[in-house]
């Protein structure tokens, strides 16, 4: 009887010890990883947003007709992209921390628009740019165009 019970108890103790190591390690690793993911997401959005605004500035000062196509790898978690008041590029983000916005400001003298043809975009400068949302590779056309005698920078996704 004792000969059977002893290895069984030893087996249980070893299993408990192994579980006691694996469970907390997994918990700590999981929590740390999810927080790192949020930091990486913010960092990627920051890089993409600044890149678009810097490029818009470059094409604006290069004059009408100048154009640069950016290829960016949009991370998972970007649910919408829009332009507000012709100068704010806004990314709506959903992450482990909930919903958030990342806003990038163009200079007041450099109006930005998209290919949105709604009245809100034409009259108030609030343009949708939802094509850029969603995970994956995006080719973004940034072009200086003349709109009714005013030089503006149009940001839009191009296929292929």
């Amino acid at each position: 009887m004792h000969k059977k019970a002893q290895p069984a108890l030893e087996y249980l103790m070893i299993t408990a010890l192994v579980l006691g190591i694996i469970v907390p390690t997994t918990y700590i690793l999981f929590r740390t990883t999810s927080e790192s993911n949020v930091k990486i997401l913010y960092s990627q959005i920051n890089q993409i947003g600044n890149n678009i605004i810097d490029t818009a500035e470059t094409v604006f000062f290069s004059g009408e007709g100048s154009r640069i196509v950016l290829e960016v790898n949009m991370p998972k978690g970007v649910t919408n992209v829009k332009i507000l008041a012709n100068r704010e590029l806004v990314f709506d983000i959903v992450s482990e921390l909930g919903t958030a916005e990342a806003v990038f400001f163009s200079k007041a003298t450099i109006p930005i628009i998209s290919d949105d043809s709604t009245a809100g975009c034409i009259n108030n400068g609030n343009c949708g740019l939802s094509d850029l949302a969603g995970e994956g590779l995006k080719r973004i056309n940034i072009e200086a165009i003349d709109v009714s005698g005013t030089l503006k920078v149009r940001i839009m996704e191009v296929e292929g």
């Binding site: 009887m1 019970a5 108890l9 907390p24 918990y27 700590i28 929590r31 740390t32 927080e35 949020v38 930091k39 913010y42 960092s43 959005i45 920051n46 507000l84 008041a85 100068r87 704010e88 806004v90 921390l97 909930g98 919903t99 958030a100 916005e101 990342a102 806003v103 990038f104 400001f105 007041a108 609030n126």
Partner: protein, 161 residues
């Protein structure tokens, strides 16, 4: 008879062993040995545009959540309102600092919220989810409405000290 006696002795011995193990585990749990969250780092996570450069949960009689953000948005902004909470059954309830205008690009600002509830207990780890509503005065509509308002969200996980 000898078989049933052996079975009973076996059960009696290992039932006591089992009870002993359970009591030991209970004691370890009571003293917080299984509170693995205390091994996690204290963190303040905000978007890169509003980097969190310092933070603390001040306990004692002060009971304040304090943090310092730097405006990396490259734009002067107006802070309109705040919201702070957490996921606990009795969430954090805080007295917010005043809204202010003219947070210059590159400038560091300190924020302090006097809080209660939400697990804000000395030497305990807790977390706070913070939302700050702001707008850029250089954008048309910032001072006259909420159409160009934005929400900055962050989270702080720290031990109240």
């Amino acid at each position: 008879m000898s078989k049933s006696q052996a079975s009973l002795e076996f059960l009696t011995t290992y039932a006591w062993a089992f009870v002993g193990i359970m009591v030991t585990l209970g004691a370890l749990y009571y003293f917080g040995v299984f509170d693995f969250s205390r091994f996690l780092p204290q963190e303040c996570i905000f978007p890169s545009q509003f980097e969190c450069v310092a933070f603390s949960f001040v306990g004692g009689a002060t009971d304040q959540i304090r943090f310092r953000l730097v405006n990396n948005a490259g734009e002067t902004i107006n802070v309109k309102r705040y919201s702070i909470s957490n996921d606990l059954p009795i969430p954090l309830s805080c007295t917010n600092p005043s809204a202010f205008n003219g947070w210059l690009a590159g400038e560091e600002r300190d924020f302090a919220f006097t809080c209660s509830g939400g697990g804000f207990i000395d030497n305990e780890r807790t977390e706070a989810e913070i939302s700050i509503t702001y707008c850029a005065p250089a954008t048309a509509g910032c001072t006259t409405g909420s159409a160009v308002d934005h929400t900055l969200s962050g989270k702080i996980k720290a031990v109240v000290t």
